[in-house]
């Protein structure tokens, strides 16, 4: 029996986190979906048990998304990270990739696109 895949959604924007959660629990994939409302909450969940994919916002109170990416990759280099941002800039995009993010998407995005992307990463 293959190991159950794990996905973590990190954002302080509750409506988006809830909608993404609904999307992924109904997506055609075997995956455990968890959410975190801050960078620090995400760190404690990552330390508990590693994730296959993490989707995180950048600007959050406390630990921000870019630092979170670095910590996740340091903890488990195999975790694939998608970064979401409400205010994109070339510098931020570069920083996200430098810290190990695999994909950088700007809000508001199409939920079907992010779902297809995660399914591809998980499978």
């Amino acid at each position: 029996m293959s190991k159950v895949k794990r996905l973590l959604i990190v954002d302080d924007e509750e409506t988006l986190t809830f909608s993404l959660y609904q999307t992924f629990i109904n997506a055609p994939m075997e995956c455990e979906v968890l959410t975190a409302a801050s960078g620090l909450e995400a760190v404690s969940k990552v330390e508990e048990k590693p994730f296959d994919v993490v989707i995180t916002d950048i600007k959050m109170p406390g630990l921000d998304g870019l630092d979170l990416v670095a910590m996740i990759k340091a903890h488990n280099p195999n975790t694939r990270v998608i970064v979401m941002t409400a205010y994109g800039s070339d510098e931020r995009e570069e920083q996200a990739y430098q810290r190990g993010a695999e994909k950088y998407i700007e809000k508001p995005f199409d939920i079907h696109e992010i779902r297809d992307l995660v399914i591809k990463m998980i499978s």
């Binding site: 409506t15 809830f18 809000k107």
Partner: protein, 417 residues
């Protein structure tokens, strides 16, 4: 006014207007006497003294680095120094007898100062006003006034002293604009986060909801509308950020002909459909411009699209390029990082034969959110102006209603910091 004062005033005016010529005459007369009657030594020394005093005051008044005008109580000009006449573009004689109100700009601030001029006891200290020049141009001056009193200590006239602050005033406006834009850039980052986050939530929630409906369910259309409106709001934000916080240009040398041809190819189908004839006149020896290619493409697309919109019944769109040199002052060389006193620019003139822009609108077309179109956001030209500024260039426009519009871009063809 008593007859005595009136008489004195007439004498004063007459003396003032004749002062220069009489003094010149007397000076030559003194020289003549000195040559012809050397024995008349007492008179000679008195003349010499008068001559010395006269020349002393004359050189002060004519050579001070500022304009000096005197007025009588009706506002008539009674004396003008050389700098004042030069700054206003007149000969001294053309200004004498003219009323000062003809020289004041029509803006509210200038008119307010004009009314204050004749209030007894009121002095104006370094107030900015605009003066109209003979050729219709305007200069901004820092104006100081003081009253003239007659021998009975009655208010009898006004001395106006001014210096040209046009350039300083323009620089001040430019700095204020840059500060406003910097502030806008910072604000926009905050706005982006606060608006795009809920937009992302609304769009995602709507799309999740949509998937719960059967395909034929009419409510799907409602959800699709929500998504469309979110996208529309986001497009508005994206356009606004292009203006408020453009990305730093990635500068390099580019052939403008290539960029213009590329933009034409992109818009050719639209021009064909609208029956618009496109032509170019690429000048020989036009230097390659030191700009961001993508940003310039965006500028050309915006201006071309506006031109197309202005010609609903067809017309022509002509692009002409040429080389232009601007002189650089020695003290500007370091700032502009150039070694010689000439700056090379590539000029691009984009002319359409469309409906043109009214005089009132012409002043506002580069303002964000100004639009004359029912569908437009009013950000296109403000973005163009911002991008050209970021690329170290300049943009200008001339237009005549019913005849067409020409946009003129001056793009740097030298490395600038």
């Amino acid at each position: 006014m008593s007859s005595k004062i009136q008489k004195q005033k007439k004498i004063f005016t007459l003396l003032n207007s004749k002062f220069s010529s009489l003094a010149e005459e007397s000076a030559s007369h003194v020289s003549q006497i000195l040559e012809d009657e050397p024995e008349n030594s007492l008179k000679n020394s008195q003349y010499r003294l008068i001559d010395k005093v006269y020349n002393f005051y004359k050189s002060i008044i004519q050579n001070i680095n500022g304009g000096l005008i005197t007025l009588d109580l009706e506002g008539e000009i009674t004396f003008v120094n050389r700098i004042a006449a030069q700054k206003l573009g007149y000969l001294i004689n053309e200004l004498l007898g003219k009323n000062i109100s003809d020289l004041f700009g029509e803006d509210d601030d200038s008119q307010k100062i004009l009314r204050m001029l004749f209030v007894p006891g009121k002095r104006i200290d370094e107030k900015e006003v605009s003066f109209l020049q003979k050729d219709g141009g305007r200069i901004i001056v820092g104006l100081t006034t003081s009253p003239i009193h007659d021998e009975d200590n009655q208010f009898d006239g006004i001395v106006l002293l001014f210096r040209d602050v046009t350039e300083v005033s323009h620089l001040k406006l430019q700095i204020e604009r840059m500060e406003r834009l910097a502030l806008l850039g910072e604000l926009s980052a905050g706005i982006a986060h606060e608006i795009r986050n809920p937009l992302a939530g609304i769009k995602a929630a709507a799309q999740v909801l949509e998937e719960t409906f059967a395909e034929e369910d009419k409510r799907v259309q409602i959800v699709e509308r929500i998504v469309r409106e979110v996208d529309k709001a986001n497009r508005l934000l994206t356009e606004f950020f292009k203006f408020a916080r453009p990305t730093k240009p990635k500068l390099n040398f580019y052939d403008l002909d290539m960029i213009i041809d590329g933009v034409y190819l992109l818009l050719a189908p639209k021009m064909l459909k609208r029956n618009i004839e496109f032509s170019t006149g690429f000048g020989k020896g036009v230097p390659r411009a030191y700009i961001d290619e993508t940003q310039l493409e965006q500028v050309f697309i915006n201006i071309f699209l506006n031109a197309i919109d202005s010609m609903p019944k067809g017309g022509s769109l002509k692009i002409v390029t040429s080389a232009k040199k601007f002189h650089v002052l020695d003290n500007e060389k370091e700032k502009l990082a150039v070694n010689n006193n000439e700056l090379n620019y590539a000029l691009v003139e984009i002319s359409d034969t469309g409906i043109g822009i009214s005089r009132d609108n012409l002043e506002k077309i580069f303002n964000p959110f100004f639009t004359s179109k029912a569908e437009g956001l009013g950000l296109g030209l403000s973005i163009c102006s911002r991008l050209i500024e970021e690329n170290g260039g300049k943009i200008d426009v001339v237009s005549e209603e019913g005849k067409g519009t020409t946009f003129i871009l001056a793009l740097p063809a030298f490395i600038h910091k």
